[in-house]
Structures are given as C-alpha cells and as structure tokens.
Symmetry: C2
Subunit: 355 residues, 2 copies
Amino acid sequence: MSESGVRWVEVDEHVGLVTDILTGLGAPEEAARWQAQVLLEGDLRGHPSHGLRRIEVLAGRIRRGLAVPDAKPRLEWRTPAALAVDGQRGLGPPTAARAVDALLERLVDTGVAVAAIRDTNHLGMLAPYVERLAADGVVGLATTTSEALVHPWGGIPAMVGTNPLAVAVPSEEEPVVLDMATGEVSMGKVLDHEARGEPLPQGSVVDARGVPTSDPAEAVKGAISPFGGAKGYALAVTLEVLVASLTGTALGRDVRGTLDATDHCNKGDVLLAIDPAAFGQDDRGPLQRFVEELRSCPVAPGHERVTVPGDRARERRRACLGQGAVPIAEVTWERAVAWATEVGASPGVPRGEEP
Amino acid sequence: MSESGVRWVEVDEHVGLVTDILTGLGAPEEAARWQAQVLLEGDLRGHPSHGLRRIEVLAGRIRRGLAVPDAKPRLEWRTPAALAVDGQRGLGPPTAARAVDALLERLVDTGVAVAAIRDTNHLGMLAPYVERLAADGVVGLATTTSEALVHPWGGIPAMVGTNPLAVAVPSEEEPVVLDMATGEVSMGKVLDHEARGEPLPQGSVVDARGVPTSDPAEAVKGAISPFGGAKGYALAVTLEVLVASLTGTALGRDVRGTLDATDHCNKGDVLLAIDPAAFGQDDRGPLQRFVEELRSCPVAPGHERVTVPGDRARERRRACLGQGAVPIAEVTWERAVAWATEVGASPGVPRGEEP
C-alpha cells in the first residue's frame, strides 16, 4: 500500500481535510463538500493535477479574495434554453453543480439546454458533471478554457489553453464518458517529469524555439504540443473561441486564475445537456451492444485490450474505492495538512457524513 | 491550368452537370441545386472525396430507390428546442438545409436548438451548414456517423466511423470553422495513394493484422487509424454514440449507405445551433483579435505559417472561385458526363441561375 513519496489516504480523510480547510476559510459546508468531492475525483481517477494538489492554490486564492467561498452564483434563464451563470467569483464545483441541476430541471420542458458560466473558479475534472447528466439519462457535454500552455500548430509560443472536452452518453449500463484535454500532455506531467529528471514522449512538448524535445526542463520554457497535430490544434482553438463567444470570457494568453493565486479567474465554462427522449429515442440497447463489441474486439500487436471512453478512469476509481483509499504524493498531503492547521481545522481526522 | 489526369471545370459547368443529372433522375430543381452546391464545395475546398466523385454512387442510389430525390422530409419540433427530422430517404443537402433554416427560425425564441436527422442520404461536407449558421451570428456544430473504416485504439478491425465534426464560431470577419474527420486519413486518400502506388504517412493506417503500415494496398485490407491516437479514438467513439443516441440510427459496422449503392442509408446527423446573443454576448472584438494574434504568431522551424481553423479551406475555395474553375480528375468528370448522357441531360453545357 505504499510507494516512495506516496501515501494512501482514506477517502473520508481526503474529503474531510479539504472540507475542513475550506470551511475554515469561510466556505459553507455544502460548497466545501462539493469542492472536496471534485478534488477527490481527480485523485481517484489518477489525475493528481486535478486532485488534492489544487487545494494549495485554491486556499491561496481564497485568502487573497480571488475566490469567494460563500459566493452566491447568479443563474439567469435568458431564453427557455439559455442559462447565463455569473459565478460571483465563487468556487467552481458548487457553481457548476447548481447549473447542472438547473439544466436537468429545464430539460423536462425543452429537451435541450446550455449553461454559459463565467466568473467562477476552476471546475476540476469535467467528467463528474457530465456523468451526473448521464445518470439522469441525458447526454452531457462540458468544455472550458484554461491558461495558454499549448502552442498553435506550426507556431512557437503557448497561446492556446489545454481546453478540455467532456462528453457523457448514457448507455444501458455505464455511460460512455470522454474527458480529455486537447494538449498532448498536462503541465502537471511536465513538472512531474522535470522533478524526476525523466524524459517526456517525443512530440508531446517543444522547447522555447519551437523545436520538439523530450526534455521536460526545456518544455517548461517552451510549450505543450496539441494532441493529434493540426487537427488537435484546430479542436483546441475551436473550443477556446466557442467558450469565449458564449461566456464573454478571456482568450489565449489573457486567461488567468486556475493555476495561480494572483489573478482574477477569467476563464469560461460551457455545459450542454440534450435529452435523447426529447427526440423520441429511448432504446439504449444498440449502444450497449456497440460498446461491448468494441471491448471484445481483436487486439492489435503491442496492445493489451480495447477500452471504451470512461473505462479506465472508472476502473481506477473503483479500485481505489474498493480499498477505501487514494494515493497522494507525500508533499501534497503535507501541504494540505499545513493549510488545515493554519486555518484552525483539525487536520487528518476522518469525518463522517455530518460534521 | 492543367495537370496530368486533372481537368479544370468551370464552376457553372460543375453545378450544371450535377443539377442536370439529378433533375434527370427526378429531383426537383431546388433539391438538385442544393446537392450540386455541396458537391461543388467539396471540390472547391480540396476534398474531392466529397466532391463530384460522389455523384456516381448517388445516382446509383437514386436508380435503386435507396435515395429518393423528391422526398419531402418530415420536421417535427418535439420540444421547443428539439427538432426531429425524418429525411424520408431524401438527398442529404436539401434535408439538412431545411433543418438549418428551422433552427435559425427557432433560435429567436430559444437561443439554443438541436436537430437530430435520420433517414437521409450523405450530407457532403459539413462546413457549409455550420457556416450558414455562423453567417447569421450563431455558433453551429454538426456531426454525423459514417461507415466503420477506423480501428479502435489498440484494436485490429475497422469498427468506428470516420465521424466528422464541424463547428463554426462567428467572429468580426471570417468565422472560425473546424471541419475534420476523426480518422487520420480519408479512405479516398488511401484509394488515391493505392492507385498511384504512393506510400501513406506511417501511423495513418494499419494492415489486416493491425500492424501500422505505409502501404495503401495493405491499408485497404486493414483499417484507418484514428487521428491523435487514444484521444482521437475516444472522440470518434463519443461522436458515434452521441449521434446514434439522439437519432436512433445505426452504430459501428452496421452503418451503411454513404459509400455504396446497395444499402439503405442508416447513418445519423446532428446539428446544434447556439446564439451567443441569447447569453447576452455580442462583442466579437476579442475573438477577432485572438485569431489575428494566432495568425501572426512566431513560426516554428519546419513550418510556414500559423493558420486558424477554416483559413486553408477558405483560401483554396477563393482561389478556385477567383478563376471560376475547380480541378476535377478526368475519370470523375467522364463518369459524371456519362451519367448525364444516360439520364438524358445535355452534359457539360453551362447553365445560368435559371434553367
């Protein structure tokens, strides 16, 4: 249960620590729990860059007034299907969760609805939001802008966000869940590899002159490459302008506030919900058979198996939940505990459902 | 103006020939012109696989009753924002054009609307539909399923469509226009390279054992690789299940009817329209500045310039329109003329706006 520099933390302890830090900083219990659950999901799914590691920047943002833990987001239905959300600088997860609830309620009438969210903090992993829609039988799509870390195809400097796209489509059993960034690697991975002196896959990053490299130290001075070359770049730019055009938020190098504790968070988020039943479609049998056929497809040399989007994250998540614990870098844990101590919470004490 | 095996065809002549063939086969003038314009767009943008080359299969489909040129699509608003379209086996372009019109009309009230289209023939390039939405200041998204030509990531046989995604986002000047298939190459390109005995880029196709190859003859027995590896595969599958779940159409290897003249066309199409004004957003200045900044970005070694999605297709299109002609493979032209002769039209005679 242990690796060098990694500690297995009980799930309740993880959630409890984040909740304590945030309530200690003035967050209402419910908002703190939403944020804690989303950070837990990052760690459960093997994306520590979206896990507990984020609490330090988030706590720093709250301290500086850049994130307002007890903010009350303003939700305005400007048309029957268009929801404009002003997060009032609040925490991302409770803001987005309220938008998801509003979309689900509205779908009963409209079948289709979109939320354009601005002025909220980092949402964390997007999969949980679209999974929540899919759990209600609804197709969910989420995308967001982020700091410019990716170079344009053929260009040198980082000018485009790692703009993730998440889509969940309900099936008979587990939904199909896409959740991917449009960069070839994450900046978290670049920094991890730099710390360990380990090379990155060739083609995933460029140096400051725009030349592909595998040296993470050069990549830090350069940029992340878009996944899939010209097509991936085109998708990343398209998501960037789509989000900005619906939310009126920043673009390119002007985007700030999800990785730093110094700037207003001016990225945007878009959530889209479509109910297949609104189109008269409710038979999920063919979709279920298709994904099963994919999973049992003959495997190519050099590969182990064929999966469907969402499979790997779900397996990793279940494995952790099965043992009730999640792997956290020691340094991440120590910093979180230090924050808990600083805000006067009792660090590391497991909490039940009720405080 | 000429290359070996290629003829420059006047734009009016191209449109006239297709219109003649289709009206000769029973299509109303307006439907025939929609179809002709969409095939022209394929050739103008440098995608002959979506150009005049398609007329042969389409004419064959009409002859066999698989495409009904005078079909009247049924459009049903099942909720204020959900439009179900039954194409009644009609031509794809006039069906989709009617759906776009209906979406635009509805957006005035709802700001967001989705059309789920089934039982129509191949739509052709998707960019023209989303560009039409963008011309009205609206964000457009289009996606469609297609025959299984792409192998799953880690799998051997072709089981996923080349499922294209098109998105247009209005700017102050030209919109940003994504229009890409999720396969690394098109089957048209594979067949072209096979005919010319020219290798394909390594990584773009696999042979019948699932091993990457550059030999197009091996690829024909194998499959096309998804663009961008595991992420591109995940996107392709997600689009496939998204379209099928909203339209109730076929999945994977069951998809037929866009490349053959033997089977009912059972793919689906989804169009999504979102009006930024519905969210109170109408300032396109920042978006315009962002795309200009991308275009003037410092260029990486080995590249010529940085473009924005839509730039290259637009340039190619304008260059052709500037000289009023489009390059067509001789064999494609001859086959189209043969069809015109067979259906009793006068092949190759330029036509004005009115017949």
